[in-house]
């Protein structure tokens, strides 16, 4: 029988999760190994965000288990179909995040805190795709960054890389 762990979100919601699913988080894996994971594991992650994290982990876990059970026969075709399925799932997942950027950035912080390298890399790419092609002013607004250049300094950089500021 699968070992279950109870995760407690910052707003006190409990999530029951299989060990194999949650062990993808290096942070929690270490807690389990150290024997620190007894009873409910309190996490500094909201229930909304934690639900998303677990959605991702379950999808990844699902994929690993299937691969282990495969024999080589027909594996290639199956892998291709699976790749398509995963791509479709990832597209849906990223569409949802793009629609709600607050969740996206909360999830980014959560995956950093829980140490989930695959999710982190996926989210970094998503943010990169979102900001690519934008103008500096839009970036400053998005991340609330103050422009600490003098107009002369800014002009000098703009002149140096003039082509990059073309549409």
């Amino acid at each position: 029988m699968a070992i279950m762990y109870a995760l407690k979100s910052s707003d006190n919601e409990i999530f029951e999760v299989e060990q194999k699913v949650i062990e993808q988080s290096e942070t929690i894996k270490k807690m389990i190994e150290d024997g620190a994971a007894t009873g409910e594991i309190p996490l500094q992650v909201s229930s909304k965000t934690l639900a998303k994290v677990l959605e991702w982990c379950k999808q990844r876990q699902h994929k690993t288990v299937e691969n282990e059970n495969d024999d080589n026969k027909g594996k290639r075709k199956k892998e291709r179909d699976e790749d398509d399925d995963i791509k479709e799932w990832e597209n849906k997942f990223s569409d949802e995040l793009k629609a709600d950027k607050d969740v996206l950035f909360d999830l980014l912080l959560a995956s950093n805190y829980l140490d989930l390298p695959a999710l982190l890399s996926f989210l970094c790419q998503l943010v990169a795709d979102m900001v690519a092609g934008k103008m500096p002013e839009e970036i400053r607004r998005m991340f609330n960054i103050e422009n600490d250049f003098t107009p002369e300094e800014e002009k000098a950089i703009t002149a140096e890389h003039g082509w990059a500021f073309q549409p």
Partner: protein, 312 residues
């Protein structure tokens, strides 16, 4: 706090303006910002140097520049074609070892039948191949998306002399070389546009179209051992910007230009050219004028008639 953010509390300032502002503000820790920046195209990175001093410092750090260059390299493939009686064997090479070595990693059945050269370019979500052969008039093939398997053929509405040529897409326009001219086509509308005169003598062995800093550029072989780079300015005039001599293993006896291919790419360290020229493959930095030879893991590579570079 540098590069991070100061959250605007709902009550702060009490101005309604801030409410819509607040929803857009997001916090990204430092090391994650580094990871995100690494995934951005060079053009965006150079632009974002003006976001703030902190962003500028991050993007200009030597370590960051080196990582970013490696990432650019990892996106380049060399497609090498080796002639056989029935057509060509095609292999893909990619770079490893900091771009000093190209290793064969896949055979490809991408290219169809007998043909001569297949310059490829990627633009407007489609992949474009130019193909010519001694039996068929030249054609442009277009593949609309990565998942699409049906190449669509566009006929070129005017007869042209057959030549091995190069193609590049700059700002939604496809350019390719023919004898003495550069032809152009609006990619999204699939409309043929005008001809552009080339800066060098018509019968001179010129080759290599590239995009350098958003402008159409051309590499020309001025003599056996001298390469020149010309850049087309907005006003429609060509400016010679660089000149260099690759130290070749052996001076070529014939003027067989089909062996020369090049591609340019931008990195935070500046513009780099990747050149396959007379059976030698090398990097050239336009900023430092440094020339770095690349080892290719295959003896067959040198005897292949066509090799071309493919920027993904």
């Amino acid at each position: 706090m540098e590069g991070g953010f100061i959250p605007i509390s709902p009550g702060e300032g009490g101005k309604t303006q801030n409410c819509s502002y607040k929803r857009e503000v997001h916090y990204v820790p430092h090391h994650l910002l580094h990871d995100i920046l690494l995934k951005l195209p060079t053009k965006s990175l150079l632009r974002f140097k003006t976001v703030s001093k902190n962003w500028c410092t991050k993007i200009s750090e030597p370590d960051f520049e080196e990582f970013q260059l490696q990432r650019c390299l990892s996106k380049i493939l060399i497609l090498h074609q080796f002639p056989r009686l029935t057509g060509f064997d095609s292999f893909l090479y990619k770079f490893e070892d900091k771009g000093l070595r190209a290793r064969k990693f896949a055979a490809t059945d991408l290219l169809i039948g007998r043909g001569c050269t297949f310059p490829a370019t990627r633009s407007c979500n489609s992949l474009i191949l130019l193909r010519n052969s001694f039996f068929v008039r030249e054609r442009i093939w277009r593949l609309h998306s990565d998942n699409d398997e049906n190449w669509r053929m566009l006929n070129i509405p005017f007869p042209q002399k057959i030549l091995p040529y190069e193609a590049v897409a700059v700002g939604g326009v496809l350019y390719w070389t023919t004898t003495g001219f550069i032809q152009s086509m609006d990619i999204s509308r699939e409309e043929f546009m005008g001809r552009i005169e080339v800066p060098c003598k018509r019968d001179e062995a010129y080759f290599g179209l590239m995009e350098i800093k958003g402008s159409l550029s051309l590499m020309n072989r001025a003599s056996d051992n001298k390469l020149e780079i010309w850049v087309l300015k907005n006003e429609g005039c060509w400016i010679k910007q660089h000149k260099f001599s690759p130290s070749l293993k052996s001076a070529p006896k014939s003027h067989n230009i089909s062996v020369g291919f090049c591609v340019a790419f931008e990195s935070c360290k500046g513009t780099y050219l990747l050149v396959c020229y007379d059976y030698t493959t090398f990097w050239y930095s336009l900023n430092t004028e440094e020339l770095t030879p690349i080892a290719v893991d295959e003896s067959q590579y040198c005897s292949g008639q066509f090799c071309l570079l493919w920027l993904l």
